[in-house]
């Protein structure tokens, strides 16, 4: 049977580690023997722009971009970005998001308001949406910089790859000295999502 393509859209703000996270997912899927394509939209990311990473895996993947409205799982490392990309999630699709806020320029300047109805809108698409304060969990794990890995841990509960496969890839992709704290962060994200 041909495995339908699974589409995971990862969103965040430059500097949050979206590219690292999507790299771990893509390589975990490749290690499982699937065809994988990934597209990163970066370049302006260092300068506070939105970062988007499309990860697709299955028996055979054609388009490197997820077709409109066909995202199976949206993983958002920033609260507003979760709302911005929500229209891409298909009906009965899933959302995993961090409640961390990074204020965009018009909000910091007082010209626009940061939306206050994000969770409500997210839950209309996915009543079981997983939302967590990744910064807080990362801090408790030992390093705020592991926030997106916490999120990745939560995401991993929605995907069919064994935990040890994720861990293998994390160990490869993360700087050696940071491996232990990242593994703690990953596990805590997983526990949060399951609990």
């Amino acid at each position: 049977m041909v495995m339908k393509v699974t589409n995971v859209l990862m969103a965040g703000v430059g500097g949050q580690g979206i590219i690292l996270a999507s790299g771990v997912l893509a390589k975990t899927a490749a290690a499982a023997g699937l065809d994988v394509k990934k597209s990163d939209v970066h370049g302006m990311a260092q300068r506070g722009g939105s970062v988007l990473s499309h990860v697709r895996f299955g028996d055979r993947v054609y388009s490197p971009l997820i077709p409109d409205g066909e995202t199976d799982i949206l993983m958002a490392a920033e609260f507003l970005e979760g709302l911005r990309w929500l229209p891409q999630v298909r009906s009965r699709g899933r959302v995993v998001l961090s409640t961390q806020r990074i204020l965009p320029p018009t909000v910091t300047r007082g010209e626009q308001a940061y939306p206050e109805d994000i969770l409500e809108k997210i839950k209309r698409r996915d009543p079981r949406a997983i939302h967590l304060d990744c910064l807080e969990i990362a801090q408790a794990a030992g390093d705020v910089r592991t926030a997106t890995v916490v999120l990745l841990g939560a995401l991993s509960t929605l995907l069919p790859f064994a935990q040890r496969k994720w861990i293998e890839l994390l160990e490869q992709e993360v700087p050696k000295k940071a491996v232990p704290v990242n593994l703690v962060a990953f596990r805590r994200g997983r526990e949060w999502a399951k609990g």
């Binding site: 390589k27 994988v36 370049g43 506070g48 054609y62 320029p105 300047r109 308001a113």
Partner: protein, 603 residues
């Protein structure tokens, strides 16, 4: 790297291009950074067998690669689409001289202009320059086609273009890897003026060879392995190539396909044969009707730009909508534009923030250029008034000066980054010096090629491997041009910068002002970050002046309160500014614009 195992690795197109070049025995790689091509040279430079360099611009890059190829070494030059405009001069005549060692030129196009000033379709270059062009549709094809391109280049005695685009270059897919094979070609300098010296008499003799080559290549195109018919449902036939193939396949998995790996020259019989196999025929291509016009010119009925957008990049949804109509499932999903956008802005601590704040105050027309500083154009900085192409600002400001006549030099300035200056700002500065300009040229020197990822350039002091390299001296260069008024300012010192700019605008002589301050992201600057500032809430009036410097570390909190004036009076305020300590680098531009100097160092 190394090994010849069939295990597939996940690789971006750019990495795969470098890999393919290395496997083919490439010995020289040249480029100027430009999205989406930048990583090609970065990856190529990691192979010890390759002599890789950041060239000052794409023309130099192609000429250096051409020289290596003339001597018999396989060489690659990489650039973004507009970069090929800069390298076009050598490209067109290399088609006549040919080469010895294979020469591959990568053009990385940018449909949708994600990071460019236009979305030109560089397939036209192949036709105009009479050169073959290959186009991969994923990372594995990128590796394979680049490798093949070197062999084709030597077989057909001409450079070969390989065209990629953002989604191929920055998309990752599974790639096979093979061992490197050195080219058996002898490295030597061959004296052959009839081939290398393009005097008219010699060039005219080479001209028929160019046509003969293209004719033979057309015959190859008819049976080229990478030009494939993929039979399917005969009710729908799609001619396509590159990433457009992937989008079409996603939208119509059952259709019949003619997928082209060679974009130029194009075959004829292959198209006729495919047309005969299907009921309805479409061309799905991004940007111009390059394929469509050719196919229609063969007398074949085909639909293309009537339903497939000419502007911007494609997607599976756009292809589906074009071919199946507006009511089909899977339509494009628009973004909610009412949500606060997240445009790129200058980093906290960027040295340019200060000087643009001053330029806005001076109310001059600022002819800008390409780099991080182009981000000064949008509000609230609103301090850059034109941007055309690499190095254009200086010449444009001189043209305006000429048009304005008397008083002109006081009303317009040009602004250019250090890397852009070395790329193509030197010659227009020379023009201003030589042709009696009285204007002011501002060179923003942040010691790196920042926007594309902080690559080295001739003034940066380091090369592509991060090793020390001679640093060209901009001030001495200006002096060598006979420019007497050469000033250096700290762009984060607003008082100094404003005073110097006013002096130079008023001076009846050509001035160069070098605003020197390192990019906040390079090690030199990271090591010198100062403690974060804090807003003194006792005296902040909530006037929001500091917000106008567009620093991501400063935000406005809408909360009623009171503050004390310098005279001691208590006044009401609607809100106050606050600084995110995690982002602030202590540059103090905010304090310098604050009427109350409310931004303080921690005590």
């Amino acid at each position: 790297m190394g090994g010849g195992n069939p295990v597939k690795r996940l690789m971006a197109g750019n990495e795969a291009i470098a890999r393919g070049a290395w496997e083919a025995g490439c010995r020289v790689g040249t480029a100027y950074p430009g999205t989406p091509s930048t990583e090609i040279l970065q990856f190529l430079s990691e192979y010890p067998e390759v002599n890789a360099e950041w060239s000052p611009n794409e023309k130099v890059a192609l000429e250096v690669a051409a020289g290596a190829a003339m001597a018999g070494a396989r060489a690659l030059a990489a650039m973004k689409h507009v970069g090929l405009n800069v390298a076009a001069d050598p490209l067109f005549t290399l088609s006549y001289t040919g080469i010895r060692g294979g020469l591959v030129v990568i053009t990385a196009d940018d449909p949708e202009m994600h990071s460019s000033q236009n979305e030109q379709d560089n397939r036209h270059y192949a036709r105009a320059a009479k050169l073959p062009m290959l186009e991969p549709a994923d990372s594995e094809e990128a590796r394979r086609l680049v490798k093949l391109a070197f062999a084709l280049s030597e077989e057909w005695d001409c450079p070969v273009l390989v065209r990629t685009s953002t989604r191929i270059s920055h998309g990752e897919g599974l790639v096979e890897t093979e061992d490197r094979r050195e080219s058996p070609l002898e490295i030597k300098l061959e004296k052959n003026p009839a081939k290398w010296v393009m005097l008219p008499a010699y060039a005219r003799a080479r001209r028929p060879l160019v046509e003969a080559r293209m004719e033979k290549l057309v015959r190859l195109a008819e049976s080229f392995a990478e030009n494939r018919i993929e039979p399917g449902d005969r009710s729908l036939g799609i001619i396509t190539s590159g990433v457009a193939y992937q989008y079409a396949r996603e939208a119509f998995p059952e259709a019949s396909y003619l997928k082209l790996g060679m974009m130029w020259p194009l075959p004829s019989e292959l198209f006729r044969r495919f047309a005969g196999m299907v009921d309805r025929l479409y061309v799905v291509e991004e940007l111009d009707p390059f394929l469509e016009d050719w196919v229609r010119g063969l007398g074949i009925q085909v639909i293309g730009k009537a339903v497939i957008p000419l502007i911007g990049e494609l997607s599976p949804a756009l292809v589906r909508k074009g071919i199946s109509g507006e009511t089909a499932a899977g339509q494009p999903v628009p973004l909610d534009l009412s949500l606060p956008p997240r445009p790129p802005i200058l980093c906290a601590g960027c040295p340019y923030r200060g000087i643009f704040t001053v330029l806005r105050k001076l109310k001059v027309f600022v002819c800008g250029d390409i780099g991080c500083y182009t981000l000064a154009a949008p509000a609230p900085l609103s301090a850059l008034d034109s941007c055309l192409c690499m190095g254009a600002g200086i010449g444009q400001s001189f043209g305006m000066e000429k048009a304005l006549g008397e008083g002109g030099p006081r009303r317009v300035v040009s602004v250019i980054g250090d890397s852009t200056f070395f790329h193509s700002g030197v010659t227009p500065l020379m023009d201003m010096a030589y042709n009696h300009s009285r204007g002011t040229v501002i060179i923003l020197d942040n010691h790196t090629t920042a926007m594309t990822g902080r690559q080295g350039h001739p003034g940066s002091g380091y090369d592509i491997r991060g090793e020390a390299a001679p640093a060209m001296d901009i001030a001495k260069l200006a002096e060598a041009f006979g420019i007497r008024r050469v000033r250096v300012v700290d762009p984060c010192n607003l008082e100094e910068t404003e005073a110097v700019l006013r002096q130079e605008l008023a001076a009846e002589e050509l001035s160069v002002v070098i605003a020197r301050g390192p990019c906040i992201l390079i090690p030199e600057a990271r090591e010198a970050i100062k403690p974060a500032l804090r807003v003194n809430l006792k005296i902040c009036a909530g006037c929001r002046t500091c917000l106008q410097v567009a620093c991501p570390a400063i935000s406005y909190v809408r909360q009623a309160g009171e503050y004390r004036t310098r005279e001691g009076k208590v006044k009401k305020r609607k809100g106050y500014s606050q600084i995110d300590e995690r982002l602030c680098t202590g540059c103090a531009v905010c304090r310098q614009v604050c009427p109350f100097a409310a931004h303080r160092e921690p005590s």
